[in-house]
Amino acid sequence: MRRLPDVYYLKLIFKNVFRAKLRSSLTIIGLIIAIVAFGLLQTVVDAWFAGSNAASASRLVTRNAISLVFPMPIYYRERMRTVNGVKSVTLLNWFGGVYKEPKNFFPQFAVDHENFFDLYPEFVMPADQLIAFKRDRQGAAVGRKLANEFGWKIGDTIPIRGTIFSGTWTFTLRAIFDAKDDTTITRQMYFHWDYVNEWLKQKYPRRMEQIGTFVIEVDDPSRTADIAKAIDAEFRNSLAETLTETEKSFQLGFISQMEQIILTIRIVSFVVIFIIMAVVANTMAMTARERSTEYATLKALGFGPGFVAALIFGEALMLSLIGGVLGILLTFPLAKGVGIIAAAVFAVFNVSQSTVLMQLACALVVGVVAALVPGWRSARVKIVDGLRHVG
């Protein structure tokens, strides 16, 4: 009967890891970079999907069936309300203005001030601010993140240079809303569609009473597909046919090329892991070759081939776990940094638990795969052949 391996072996493995200091250090640095890169790329993917997850399942978005750039007549709203299952309808129109400089980009929407925030309970604000926003025709409501970014306070006037709606617009900040949960973006601005419509009436009467999108709240989220179909049926063969979809698919489709980018990011993150796998495998192959005499000696002393393989697997795993854990630890501060830089794009940029688990799994897989060939080879080599490498 043999005793189970104890700390003696762990110590042996640990010391072996750091025998060729330069080589181990470089390998570990490579591992750290790969694990960090993998973690950050996964977090980008997560952040992207977090954005679309925030979309409500009980909201539908209706747009012109031809393209988003074509509007629909505002009176559609009355007919939508008559569709079975529709609870309420609000208006949402992309404004596309510039605050001082184009680099200050943030989205602005002209909305139906009366009920817009009723449909978006994820934006929370004090009741008096909401009332003030509704009362002021030039009033604006902005998200907390945006207000903080430009140091705006309630009562400030915010000039916006219109691009689609040319000219300089002045809004008064009446409400600042917070996010109900951390997947909600609060870096955008809302103001009265009526105010914009009024302006159109004066300047471009042909463009008035037209809206880019309707947002619809349904009374039964499980029936969204049917309700969407019913709405589109209502406007079939009319001048502007509609396309109604859930807010989520609307958002995903809105930037569908992003999905290609996400796919690419995913592939790149796994390529990075694949490359580091080759690097660690090379390190382990060199290591095992150099130690063939030691392994042969161990076998001569009575240790089995499995023991030699275990030493190599242990060493590869320890190497990859050291790199992996350091990489994981480094991912958090780096993700924080990236999150700040990319705040305009992502509401959340948090390293998720599943990302950490995937990083850990990658490190383990790298270790195991890297040890496969050298472990198998060293276990199999005949003792006399191993010993002949002496000198």
Partner: protein, 230 residues
């Protein structure tokens, strides 16, 4: 206990290099008694190491009989042979073959990892054995902090710590200066005389061979004579 320890009859061994068969040992017959100290001599390439490796159970013959302490080791499986070596053979190599990341103490402890001894028992044995080879004060030293002679003494300690039946030494003084070599030989001699260890030692050096009780000459894979030393 019968005096006969190693019995070799018509032992044959060849290696294949590429697709060519290279005969190394032809029809070797040799008997080694318990408590003997044999020097295996012969020119380079004559097959000394090969013969030693066969007796030590780290290589397998192509034919013939090879029994050690009554056991036909040619019939053992790889795993059985490994266990057999762990309890019966102590190895001493020309280049010591110590684990560089382990201290002298840990190197000597290594073969004891394959036994059931407790930590305390292991410690006691290792300390005792290192004292025996005169390295009680070098236990925490790493191999690269020791001279060649000291390293070989650590290797001797590692070889005897499990109290094996046979010590096999392949050119144990081949890498040592004169003084260290004679220390090592003296130690082997004492192990043989005082503790009754059976020793088989391959050497080039006639002076080293004098430490043995008996000298066996190998030439081109054949035993040519067998003389007892004075």
């Amino acid at each position: 206990m019968p005096p006969l320890l190693v019995e070799i009859k018509h032992l044959v061994k060849s290696y294949t290099r590429g697709d060519q068969k290279v005969p190394v040992l032809h029809d070797i017959s040799l008997e080694i008694n318990r408590g003997d100290f044999i020097a295996l001599m012969g020119p380079s390439g004559s097959g000394k190491s090969t013969l030693l490796n066969l007796i030590a159970g780290i290589d397998k013959p192509d034919g013939g009989i090879l029994t050690v302490d009554g056991e036909d080791i040619t019939q053992l499986s790889e795993g059985e042979l490994a266990d057999w070596r762990a309890s019966n053979i102590g190895f001493i190599f020309q280049f010591y073959n110590l684990m560089p990341v382990l201290t002298a103490f840990e190197n000597v402890e290594l073969p004891l990892q394959l036994t059931n001894l407790s930590r305390a028992e292991r410690r006691q044995r290792v300390e005792m054995t290192l004292s025996l080879v005169g390295l009680a004060d070098r236990m925490e030293h790493y191999p690269n902090e020791l001279s060649g002679g000291q390293q070989q003494r650590v290797a001797i300690a590692r070889a005897i710590v499990t109290d094996p039946t046979i010590l096999v030494c392949d050119e144990p003084t081949g890498d040592l200066d004169k003084q260290s070599a004679s220390d090592v030989l003296g130690m082997l001699k004492r192990l043989n005389e005082e503790m009754g260890k059976t020793i088989i030692m391959v050497t080039h050096d006639a002076h080293a061979a004098e430490a043995a009780r008996r000298i066996v000459h190998l030439e081109k894979g054949e035993l040519i004579n067998d003389a007892a030393t004075a």
